[in-house]
């Protein structure tokens, strides 16, 4: 199996999981979604084991680190602004459900900041910055 085949099989498995989960959502079947996710994870694990070649190395980690940071910055700012927007909109037009939605978005933004801070401090200590 070469790298191209590995990528094709991985995309196929992802497509399969997405279709099973979509079917589960449409038919309102929680068990089908759980089974779909379980089978997908199992398949990806087996294919990755069969494909012995290195697929993640220092460059991939560096690229994913930068992509994660940009995703975090954009995602957090977007969610926080969206939350504020909904809260102000609710106050302006007296829509209580919009305020709840805004609060939920704000809490998600706070959760993201918390997770980022914890993981940042963990890795900062892991890589030697004790003081």
């Amino acid at each position: 199996m070469n790298y191209k085949n590995y990528l094709q099989i991985r995309s196929l498995i992802t497509l399969l999981i997405v279709s099973i989960i979509s079917m589960a959502v449409i038919s309102n079947n929680l068990y089908l979604a759980i089974v779909g996710i379980f089978i997908g994870v199992l398949f990806i694990f087996l294919v990755r084991n069969k494909f012995k070649k290195i697929v993640v190395d220092e460059r991939v980690l560096s690229v994913s680190g930068k992509a994660s940071r940009i995703t975090y910055v954009i995602g957090t700012i977007f969610l926080a602004l969206l939350g504020l927007f909904f809260i102000f909109l609710a106050k302006l037009y007296k829509y209580p459900y919009l305020e709840s939605l805004g609060i939920v978005f704000s809490y998600i933004a706070l959760l993201m900041i918390t997770i980022y801070s914890i993981s940042y401090h963990y890795y900062n200590r892991e890589y030697g910055a004790d003081e």
Partner: protein, 68 residues
């Protein structure tokens, strides 16, 4: 601005090695070797040492650093 350059392509040709061969020996992907060869990615010290050991050269012989 600092500039990095390297002679990996030359040493690879001398050792009759493909990018894939070098990637397997260094435990990295072929894309990483391509990026290092094109000076688009600066390798870690560990990878630089691995490459130097494979070509039986010193790091300075393979990688050049020029501060401008």
């Amino acid at each position: 601005m600092a500039q990095m350059s390297n002679k990996i392509k030359i040493f690879r040709a001398e050792h009759n090695m493909t990018q894939e061969d070098l990637a397997i020996k260094c435990d990295v992907t072929r894309q990483t070797i391509i990026a290092v060869e094109k000076n688009k990615y600066i390798p870690s010290l560990e990878l630089a040492f691995k490459i130097a050991i494979i070509f039986k050269q010193s790091i300075e012989n393979i990688f050049n650093y020029r501060a401008e």
